[in-house]
């Protein structure tokens, strides 16, 4: 699922992201990038995630694990 990380990186406008990166620590983390991630997860994994749920994940790795387990 490297595709997942590259899409997160693209939204947050960084070259790459790692499992241990904290989502809210990115310079470009804001309401718009958060919505863009929610939309990407919905489009690519058919998972409709609330903003509250998204911020309950601390790191990129935790989010990816959940999406992988629950999405299609």
């Amino acid at each position: 699922m490297e595709n997942f990380k590259s899409k997160i990186a693209e939204i947050l406008e960084v070259d790459s992201v790692n499992d241990t990166d904290v989502l809210t620590d990115f310079d470009n983390w804001d309401s718009l990038s958060s919505l863009s991630i929610i939309a990407m997860i919905d489009t690519d994994y058919s998972l409709n995630m609330s903003a509250e749920k998204l911020v309950s994940f601390n790191t990129v790795g935790e989010l990816e694990q959940f999406v992988k387990a629950n999405g299609k």
Partner: protein
Amino acid sequence: MNLTFKNKRVTGILTVVPAKEVRFEDEMGNYNFTREQSVKLQKIMGFGAHRIVDDGTCVSDLAVFGLNHLIQNGQLKKEEIDALIFVTQTPDFMMPATSFIVHGALGLRHDVYCLDINQGCAGYLVGLQQAFLLTEQANINKVVLVNADILSRKVNKRDRNSFPLIGDACSITLIEKGSGSEQPVYSTIKIDGGNSNVLTIPAGGMRLPSSAETAIEEQDEKGNIRSKDNLVMKGDAVYNFVMMEVPPMIADLHELAGKEISDTDYFLFHQPNKFMLQKLADKLKVPYAKMPFNVVEHFGNSSGVSIPTAITFNLAQELRSQEYTVCLAGFGVGLTWSSMLLKLGNLDFCEMINY
């Protein structure tokens, strides 16, 4: 809830927009966002220019202006109006209802059924449903449906979440009894009052009257500034709601009508922003050419009025000479989500004018 209406015709649609146009670029400085963030927001959401009323302009001003335009052009005769429905969330007064104000301003006869409806993004559909029901009466042949909102006056200019997309507008739609040969109109409506706090204006009603205290501006955790007198929208929750409920609603509507989604010529939806409409089109596998999403970019989101705005801006000429199968959908405050599948066209008028 599924609804079916027989022997109904929409015979004309006029949209009135304020002449005053404000550009997003000129407002970026009002928001707690860097220029880079604002440019990105603009690109994704499709912000361009929006139409805003001057302070002091009310929905009845737009409505009377539009109705007089139709009367002067011979497209509407006062004495033919049997019912006047006014759908708005921004009435002139708490009392009397705005339909009465319009009735008085036009000098309509006493034999007119007047009704105000407090509805938002699904208001155009609720208004059509009520207009169709009224024409079941023997004495009601022609219904004037006015849908107007001037929510810019209730949104804080430093609320980046809502102000860039808001627009003011008024639409006037004529509904008449059909000749008997019309195809039925199919419609759906659902309500989730448990989530009514997703879109609200907290103060100004009887629960929390406006006061010096409710006018105090505060900043939320995302940097948006607003007071309790202002509109507040939980944008993320609206996004989740729309993506969850609207695609199955459109599928159910077509099933109710015994049609395929691919048979429908146009999907004329409420216009929250370009981003959400593109996502909806993708989910429904509808080509972008069949689902206009350019209203926010040119006029702003005028709640329920964004549907007739999308119609008169994109299809004015076509709808005067041809007929199409169109799917309308509105979704928002309530929460309410509603849809309608009908034949629309050969209209006596379909245009847009400036106030």
